[in-house]
Amino acid sequence: MIYVTIVDYDLGNQDSLYYSLKALGFKVKISKDIEILSKSDVLILPGVGSFPEAIKRLKENNLSEFLIEWSSKNKPIIGICLGMQLLCIKSYEYQESRGLGIINGEIIALNNTRPHIGWNNVFQVQESDFLYSKMNDFYFNHSFKFKGNKKLIIGNSTFNDENIPAIIKKNNVVGVQFHPEKSQKAGKKLLSLIIKKLVDG
């Protein structure tokens, strides 16, 4: 049995993620308690929210240092949408804010004047255990994107000719810009695969 804990930083769509993971057969908790988080096989940082508000709430809940230490021990973390962005060094959403700095990159505004909202394909740009050449449509909802070391990007999407890094990976840390938990069966299948590969190899 794989123990998954959704990191509760008082923001994000944690309930829908909780029930998605339970339906996939994982043992799931939502918690901000370091003792519970420490006993997990994998941590998930959920999305939906603005970067400055989220990083403020992570700090208020004394979770930033714990997450940085967790990743330094090469333990698995998955960041979803905003959760992926929080793993990076900094973001320019509303203002310049420092992130967790676990992944070497920054979060910049899309070139497009409109946000990237809706279903889009993801194309493999590097080999990985859980992505194949072209994946089914996944649900995106964001106005900012990852910019950083290209070696970390394993899946891309495009939006009005603009490249959108869709999946990034550094060691045991994976970030997905889309919402696998809200991407119906294809999304759940991918989420399950990522968790199992990170934990069991």
Partner: protein, 256 residues
């Protein structure tokens, strides 16, 4: 390439799903959870739940409904509308599993609260609701609380034009809501020339109508209400008839 979206709209009043006619009369349909579960199973692109008696009766958001939704394992992106009073309500609605929220009451009554919500959740999570009445070549904003229509104010135009505050406008044809094949496409061309995507809703039921709307650059999505409940697999059947460039393909359980 991101596709346009077909949004299943479920209107709820007094705990029951209803078909609303021009914001005026309501036909009860039954348990909203059954309707939402069908839309999820048929692979609609987003589900918009609008609980229309929450703000009117100052009840706050319907968290009981949201709790029940996740227990029936919905895995379609969810947009929630109804009773959101402040930033705490908005954050709690998202924590209860919604991805985005629609704001109507706050758009008309408290720009400062709306901006606070945007700063907490990010603009991509916010949709502005505009029930519109066409008066010649003028567009009037219908206030469902006072039942009065008045010109779109400068302050509302500024809000809906600002991509740092909201991401899309839910453009509702008030007069044709609930009537099949009746959405007035002229609303799109008369609507102020702003760089904000529009979700068209109110009297949309037919393939040709949807394609005409999708041919408009401003339209990112269409919302369809009770017309989706008329037959099994209505979402897949509509998607099969619409040009594949516009929408992601229909999803059938057996194909995954």
């Amino acid at each position: 390439m991101a596709k346009k979206r077909l949004i299943g709209v479920v209107t709820i009043r007094n705990g029951l799903a209803v078909q609303s006619f021009s914001f005026n009369s309501y036909l009860p349909l039954g348990n909203p959870l059954c309707i939402i579960q069908n839309l999820d199973r048929w692979g609609v692109d987003e589900i918009l739940i609008q609980v229309i008696d929450r703000s009117l009766n100052q009840l706050g958001p319907d968290f009981d409904l949201l709790n029940k939704l996740w227990r029936i394992r919905i895995s379609t992106p969810l947009i929630y509308c109804g009773g959101i009073r402040d930033v705490n309500d908005a954050i709690n609605v998202i924590k209860h599993g919604s991805d985005r929220i629609v704001l109507d009451h706050l758009l008309r009554n408290s720009n400062s609260e709306l901006i606070s919500i945007s700063q907490a959740l990010g603009s991509q999570a916010l949709i502005a609701s505009l029930p519109i009445v066409k008066d010649g070549n003028k567009l009037l904003l219908y206030n469902y609380e006072s039942k009065i229509s008045q010109e779109l104010g400068k302050d509302i135009l500024e809000i809906i034009s600002n991509k740092d505050i909201i991401s899309e406008v839910l453009l509702i044809n008030k007069e044709t809501e609930g009537l099949p094949n009746s959405f007035d496409i002229d609303l799109i061309s008369i609507f102020p020339d702003i760089d904000t995507s529009l979700i068209a809703f109110g009297g949309i039921s037919e393939v040709n109508q949807i394609q005409d709307l999708f041919s408009k650059k401003q339209v990112s999505a269409v919302g369809i209400g009770n017309f989706l409940n008329y037959r099994e697999h209505s979402v897949q059947l509509l998607k099969e008839s619409i040009k594949p460039d516009y929408l992601r393909p229909p999803i059938y359980s057996s194909t995954i």
